[in-house]
Every structure is written in C-alpha cells, then in structure tokens.
C-alpha cells in the first residue's frame, strides 16, 4: 500500500507557538475571560466527564480545562499503567489518569505553556489530589516529547494535535514513547471542509 505524504503547512512555527502560548496562558490565568471554545466544568460535563473523575481534581485545574473530547471515554486507565498526557494544560486529564493508575502507576504531563504547567503542578501538590503523587509535569513540545522510548502504556491528549502543524511528527512521537501494544486515546478536532493553503498560514485561524 502506498502512503500519501502528508504536507506540513507552511506556517511560522515559532510565531504560532508564541501565539498559542499567549492564548493558553490566558486560559490558565484568566479562565473566565471567555474564549472561542468552552472551558471548565461545564465543558467537562458536555464531553462526558464523570463527576467521580473530577472529585479529586482541584478547581484550579478544572476551570482551565479546554479539551475537545474525552480520552477516558475510549477506555479507562488501569491500575499500574504509565501514561503520557500530551499538552496537559492545567493538568485535569493527568490528574484523572493518575487517580485511575493508582500509586503503582505513573503519569507524565507535557505542555509548552509555563502558566499551565505551574497550575498543573500546584494542583498535583494540593491535598485534594494527594493520592496522585505519581503525576509529574514536564515542559516540552508534542513534536519532541521529553519521555523515553517505549515508556508508556497509554498516550492521551485532548485538543492539542490540531494546534501542531506537523501532525505526522506528533504521531511519530506518540508512537515512539508507547510500548509495543500500547494505546492512543485522543480527543481532538476534525475539520469537515477543505482548508485552503492560505488559511493554513493564518495564525489567527490556528488559535481560533
């Protein structure tokens, strides 16, 4: 079978990352501002997050939730599993995964936005999330995950792949960090109409 090469949009990558960091720093610092996407607990409910999953997640992480799907609707994390959360934001999915994985599991959340990482780390250290001590957060990009080869049983992500121009590289990194037989459980965005090349170069469209 011939695999058609996937063209990477000709967009200023550093400029795009800078604008996305600014946008999501706002979601971290000022989550009630109002964005072009839903946020917080109402969004989590809309996406089918169960109240029991959120019970031990601090409000600070929930209020900055900005996912587009529900990785846990694809299957729960099993006790003892190792999980990588790509683009973990304020840490909601990492903390839920940590709770499911239990004390023998481990979760690594990766994000490029310092304000989100600060929020995620503070939540992980709060008493409400005390049982998720196996959760840690690292700064990095989806295209170059700071995780060793074959480490993870599960890679989750929520609303992040669509923000990356080189999607094949992101998927290759997810593949690299998964163990053989490991699974990918992703919430993201599907575009139903063709996006012209001119629009793919428009950074405002990427973030909104």
């Amino acid at each position: 079978m011939t695999i058609k090469p996937i063209a990477v949009p000709d967009v200023d990558l550093e400029g795009l990352r800078c604008e996305i960091r600014k946008e999501y720093a706002e979601v971290a610092i000022n989550p009630s501002k109002g964005f072009h996407f839903h946020t917080g607990r109402p969004l989590a409910r809309m996406l089918g997050y169960e109240d029991a999953w959120l019970e031990h997640v601090p409000d600070a992480s929930i209020e900055s939730f900005a996912g587009t799907g529900n990785p846990f609707a694809l299957g729960l994390i099993l006790p003892g599993e190792r999980v990588v959360d790509v683009g973990c934001g304020g840490g909601i999915d990492s903390l839920i995964a940590g709770r499911m994985a239990g004390p023998t599991g481990r979760v690594v959340g990766v994000d490029m936005t310092p304000e989100m990482l600060a929020k995620a780390r503070a939540s992980a250290e709060s008493p409400a999330a005390a049982t998720t001590s196996s959760v840690e957060f690292r700064r990095g990009h989806a295209e170059e995950l700071p995780v060793e080869d074959g480490w993870a049983d599960v890679v989750i992500s929520n609303g992040v792949v669509n923000l990356c121009p080189d999607k094949l590289q992101v998927l290759r990194e997810m593949y690299r960090v998964l163990r053989p037989g490991g699974r990918l459980q992703i919430g993201d965005i599907l575009v139903q109409k063709p996006v012209p090349d001119s629009a793919k170069r428009d950074i405002d469209l990427w973030k909104g």
Binding site: I6, H36, F37, A73, Y175, L184, K193, G208
Partner: protein, 52 residues
Amino acid sequence: MTAAGFHGFEITWRADVFSGAPQQSSAAKFGTLGINFRAMKPAHAGAGAAAD
C-alpha cells in the same frame, strides 16, 4: 495514523463542541467538530513500524 505506524485507528465519537462558546470561532466555517479517536502501537516489533 498508518504512516506513523499505528493500527486500529477508529473515531468513536464526534460532536459540535464549539457552538455557544463566548467568542465566535473563526475556524467554525470549516466545520470543526470535537472527536475522540483511538489507535494501537502494534504488539510485535517491526509490525507496522513507523514509515520514514
């Protein structure tokens, strides 16, 4: 997904997750939907290895 080496790709859910957001999305004209999808890394080394 196949080019990255995955198999078993499946979209299990899709829904309009942007309607009613506080700000209008400029990308909405392209019909953006929220989705859930899954895939697996093959269990045996070399099976479905990532393409260059």
